[in-house]
Symmetry: C2
Subunit: 587 residues, 2 copies
Amino acid sequence: MSYLPASADNAFLLFDVLKADEQLQRLPAHAGTDQALMQQVLDEAGKWVGDVVAPLSRSGDEAGAQFEAGRVTTPPGFASAYQDFWQAGWPALACAQEDGGQGLPWVLEGVLYEWLSAANHGWTMAPGLLHGAYECLKHHGSDALKAAYLSKIASGEWLATMCLTEAHAGSDLGLARTQAVLAGDSSLGERFTISGGKIFISGGEHDLTDNIVHLVLARLPGAPAGPKGLSLFLVPKVLPDGERNAVVCERIEEKMGLHGSPTCVMRFDAATGWRIGQPGAGLNAMFVMMNAARLHVALQGMGLLDAAWQKAHAYALERRQMRAPGTVPASRGAGDAADLIIEHPTIARTLDVQRAWVDGGRVLAYQTGVYLDVARHAESAKEREQAQQWCSLMTPVLKAAWTQQAFEGASACLQVFGGHGYIREWGIEQIVRDSRVAMIYEGTNEIQAIDLLVRKVLPDGGQAMGQWLLFLRKSLDAGRPLDAEVLRGLAQLRYFTTVLAQACKEDDTLAWRVADDYLRCVAVLLLGWAWARIAATEGTDGERWQGPLMQVQQRILPEMDWRMSLMKSQWAQASVVHGNQLYAAAN
Amino acid sequence: MSYLPASADNAFLLFDVLKADEQLQRLPAHAGTDQALMQQVLDEAGKWVGDVVAPLSRSGDEAGAQFEAGRVTTPPGFASAYQDFWQAGWPALACAQEDGGQGLPWVLEGVLYEWLSAANHGWTMAPGLLHGAYECLKHHGSDALKAAYLSKIASGEWLATMCLTEAHAGSDLGLARTQAVLAGDSSLGERFTISGGKIFISGGEHDLTDNIVHLVLARLPGAPAGPKGLSLFLVPKVLPDGERNAVVCERIEEKMGLHGSPTCVMRFDAATGWRIGQPGAGLNAMFVMMNAARLHVALQGMGLLDAAWQKAHAYALERRQMRAPGTVPASRGAGDAADLIIEHPTIARTLDVQRAWVDGGRVLAYQTGVYLDVARHAESAKEREQAQQWCSLMTPVLKAAWTQQAFEGASACLQVFGGHGYIREWGIEQIVRDSRVAMIYEGTNEIQAIDLLVRKVLPDGGQAMGQWLLFLRKSLDAGRPLDAEVLRGLAQLRYFTTVLAQACKEDDTLAWRVADDYLRCVAVLLLGWAWARIAATEGTDGERWQGPLMQVQQRILPEMDWRMSLMKSQWAQASVVHGNQLYAAAN
């Protein structure tokens, strides 16, 4: 059984819970984007994903991308599915109309990629990198470069890569050594030659498109050491004159999963390229698309977890083992010597916990997707700024917590199958293997935690975070049980954050010691908030929503207290070291 | 880098912390087993494992076991390593001398298998099944069967399998349908024909030994439905007269990992077999070896986690990325633009948490191994009974919690490598894939939780568990900080267990709803206890032991309170349903 988008669920969260259509229609850019239009796009997308991409997932894993003498062949069916995809206009869904796109809201692209990743993570890696390249080139490229490349990238006729990592420079891109040297002029502006090696380049070489546009971080002569010495260059596989550029794929990696996606080791041998943006501003140019790209990865997590849930749920509804405890379940027929495993409490809980993460995560990610558009298109600067702040704080939380849950939840879903989960037949072990990478790429989850706490929360003493937590109160109603718990959590975290910010001034490694727990704490609180929104929406009385809701209340949200106590134990240590009273204050 | 047993660590835990040699020498059967003898065995075993088996792990994963027309070929090198292994007498280490064994304590076999699994999980599956078969045949087989098969199994000259699972009968073996029919007499006693299909048979067919002895659960004509209708049969691949028996390997499974071990689909076509034990007592005969077999799996978890730690620790000591927060670390050289990643708090914590689980787990598992011998050999019936109780309560906890930690901890170690962890090169992703199966086989971890709470703790209202928790207090000293925390935990869990037992009488599914959290609660408390023992031992002042100890205190043991609060939320539900006062009592 391959993945089938349950688009009614996504639509319910988008329209009934979030009223995303109404939020978007307030923006002049999306005034005409009503629910009917969005629904139509979703219906078509869901059908296409289920029909074309999902059936290629297992065969893609088994065949894998193949490398021979510098050429990469993607698994059977991948190339024709990709031709279908870009010719139908899917990559350009949310691109600007002036670039040949459809100018639809970002959130539709988000849902599309959630489904694509769920259906076939390996295949989706290829177009997944287009969107960052598009934003990057659009905002930082020269007019000449844009004229030559932007519409081809927007449409997806040419695919793109991000060439950042080098063997010794992973999380620490500032160590990158690839060199760029000015080599003369050209019709596209100053021409550079790029030399060096890059690794972990998804789609660095393949047979899906005629050309591949590499965005490469490199260092100009005399550039300072560290991240501020990095500039960004556009290096096409095929040059404008039709010649092959000096970009070579040396080999592809053998990986734990994601076999359908070629992960390439690339060599640039004085390859021709053009600079995007200012010298030394290479990382800045990439940060343009950082929130959107990380949100994409968070949605991969949600998609993969949903796919794992679909498999485990279907299995639990047909597999019978042992009698369930308690009263005779209605599902036990006269001749049944054993009950459906979904009647066993531990199995039912496993399934509902994953649904809690998927659906709560969707509410948060879709709202963030809406705010990405608000941050771009709102008329009032204040509104744009608030939306930007939401995206900035929410994105690392969604990326880290939901990719972790994707892997751990997929493993929990594998467990539902017992021994049958460990073999390839049911496809669940592939999801565990595939999902693991999302905890690493686009900034490891540990980097996300540092990004949240050290870069975003602490610099202003927790003010912005506090404002944001106050903002989240607005949509809650203290008369509802879950809302009351979330309100308590919001107040608690707001106070905790202030005290933590103070404590971090006294202890210069405390922030790094608590960052992971802090992020997790925010994540479970946000999940509670999302479910408070779901529970307050008409139509959520049934088991479909009440089962996961119970797990949020009984199991997930209570983790917040535990995480705070773990952080306080670090603090206690600080107070021993520094002899101050902060620990007492935090208690 | 392949796995290398750090045998000094194991010896320290065995002799300095547990004084296992002194405990064992009190038993007449092991009066001569002093530390020098045990140390000599460990030294040889460690060397052999590191030299012969460990280097075959990655190549074994890549080549995989191969199937063709009913024949199975193990990866290159596996067969000759196995010949080495049994001819050197390793399988018979702890077998009785009258069966050709060396009669050494079980705990040495335990350490040997911990190392073997760490070094090469796939290879180790083959001999791993010998020990259960040996115990089963020794205690339940007829004299004629024992004369024909016991010494061959003890020595490992012939390998053995456990044929339990059928496609529709996994956790619920009572659903098994394989048939056994009396077919006449023979020199080995009543002869039966066995017909049916079995799946997930590790080593069901291979090229390691001339014969394979299958122990098969099957149903005699007219046997009652369910587990009490199952009998056990010995079905050799090659019959005593040299003829091939009608046992066929139909295919081998494609799995997530453990590629070196063939997981076979077996068909018995009126194959010849002989009954072991009484009709209908098949599961009983298997239970003989249950604790030892599950303890083996727990040790696999510890071994695999140790192997993952070794890789990640070595990598963290050579990989430099970004500046570490806080004061300049001593490891930063003048020319270093970045610090060793072990200087980053989140990496150091990841590593120490895994060490905490490995070394604490070893203390618990080795003590349990000693008690397996006490339960067999002690002169006093009371001592035997107490030891048996320890094994009975400890085994499901060790099996479930340590196999879970093996998988999650291996994944955490993979994360230390960043993107390099996701590719095959470093071998860490293989450990994640291999270790996953241990959460499933020998009874899923959910079954272990039910075994602990429903079968062992609740039937006597928590009395035996309470006694055991009291017993654990003996070796603690309230004057030491960790000991005081563990003492508090022991008292708390003892009280909690009594109240829970009462509550379960009022709510017939409560035990099943809290079983996983209860087991986890016991596990972290036991880990605290083990570390209290380690911390009280001379020679643990250094960072090697103090780093993990801090994680036990700050991070692992506090999980107990969280788990209890999760259980109480189930209770609260019960109290709403049943209107009783138990929730208040538990608070």
